[in-house]
Symmetry: C2
Subunit: 336 residues, 2 copies
Amino acid sequence: PDGGAAERARERSLALAKPPGSLGEIEDLGARLAAISGRVPPPVPEDPAVIVCAGDHGVLGRGVSPWPREVTAAMVRNFCGDGAAVNAIAKSVGARVSVLDVGVATELARHPRLRTARVRPGTDDLSLGPAMGREEAARALMSGAGMAEELVGSGVDLLVTGDMGIGNTTPAAALVSAFTGRPPEETTGRGTGIDDETLRLKRSVVEEALALHDPDPKDPLGVLAALGGLEHAAIAGVILAGAANGTPVVLDGVISNSAALVARALVPDSTGYLVAGHLSAEPGASVALEHLGLRPLLDLGLRLGEGTGGLLAVPLVRAAARVLGEMALLEDLELG
Amino acid sequence: PDGGAAERARERSLALAKPPGSLGEIEDLGARLAAISGRVPPPVPEDPAVIVCAGDHGVLGRGVSPWPREVTAAMVRNFCGDGAAVNAIAKSVGARVSVLDVGVATELARHPRLRTARVRPGTDDLSLGPAMGREEAARALMSGAGMAEELVGSGVDLLVTGDMGIGNTTPAAALVSAFTGRPPEETTGRGTGIDDETLRLKRSVVEEALALHDPDPKDPLGVLAALGGLEHAAIAGVILAGAANGTPVVLDGVISNSAALVARALVPDSTGYLVAGHLSAEPGASVALEHLGLRPLLDLGLRLGEGTGGLLAVPLVRAAARVLGEMALLEDLELG
């Protein structure tokens, strides 16, 4: 990111026809968009797209979620059929929806909205061995990056990360613990909704996985392969491609937050291209965002994923850019 | 509001293709919109409008703000000229901007976006006597209501309250203290930005005014006349007209929050038609919203007014309605 552009945006913000600082975090966001684009005012995003990355999880066999594995594929069909929350919210903010199958266990029918890049039919159980091979993690990451590159090439000027994968908050918690050093009880939560007993089991599964793999955060691809999910890898790729293209990437919840830690471990500068769309109700989200130094725009108790929380923040991004581009200056006010 | 519709919305929300409750406050908002409209799903707002109510304040003579009185008129001209934050943000969320002069001290030139209904050229100093007469408060309130009625008649389906008036956080603090019983040190803040000394002065001005008028919350129009501003009165009118028409009203910051207390004292049911757009940085805002039982959607450290924080919440309102109207049901997912 371009620190000079951020500085110029802050100066412009102070000169606008309003009391200095009175637009709070919208002003910070404007400076961030300037840094990302290298332009003051930054361009107003006109063509946002959410990429919903989908995969299945071997760890589901441990009973970490009440939902059956088949729901992942069913929800991917629902995304294609325009019946999910991500579809409704994408329409309400004017965003495209793209779906990337990087590892759904069930084979899915072709659909214009669905990119099939199944690296493998779901991961293995991370508490018994590596979730996937290192090369597979790299392939999933490249698939996400490739899809982002293609969307940017077709005119998309704002990327939103999204995820679908029954069981995927377990690998997210493991990744957050691995990269932040925080213990599983601080990073593992109820996901889309589990009871106390299942939560205890889920925490011990994450503990077992960390003990088994002893992850080294200096080897991010190794950590991703040992503990991650295919959609986590793909989202890390979306982030790296966004950063490489100077396109802002709005993060959704804890899956995206954990992927941002992977991306940062690979390319430290990538975090500067991110906007934290919202704070997920999952505890690992705040741990990850704090570690990344990102302050979430929304805090609405969301714990759905799919990109819903990221999409809800898109209008704030647009507003922040418009404020810098369209407001008069204080010195131009006619005091009559 | 229609409690039965809210209940049906909650049931529908539980049946949608997502884990129950996973959309957090967006689900609560959907139920609220159902209650307001009496329909499940509630209509998706297509034609929102912000009404920026403007007035001047005699208390400015006490030195409660560093900004000169002339800025109120200059900003009204800026709203008409499309150069203010409210204009940029309204464009970014697709809302109309209407401006209501209920009491700007300076006479303003006609403009298609400006409704002139100057009850008087600003209020008197509330620390020395009543800010305005009871009949004047009623007229300002009716002007706001009339403008809201006219907009709703022309197709507006979501109202956003906004304000402009140099010095207007002082009467807002006095109103919040009068209706909630909380002391001035909890309701009086730095407004758009004042130093410690001015803050101490501002608090003592609010204390003096409360001591002078000994406001009786059971006489809301009397309290409004003694302590309020003309734009506070007009916003209370916008709220009452919205409620009377079953049109949701999104509140901006502390000026709007204080006006909502007036509206509630007059018509207790009116609060049920409100959505708290954001939490202003001004301390009276959280005191007022707590008293109203409203949870703000956004918390971005805004302290500008004009309707900016209310407008930024409009996309969340649209999303909440769309989610209820467009999502598939869980039972319709094909798990095969």
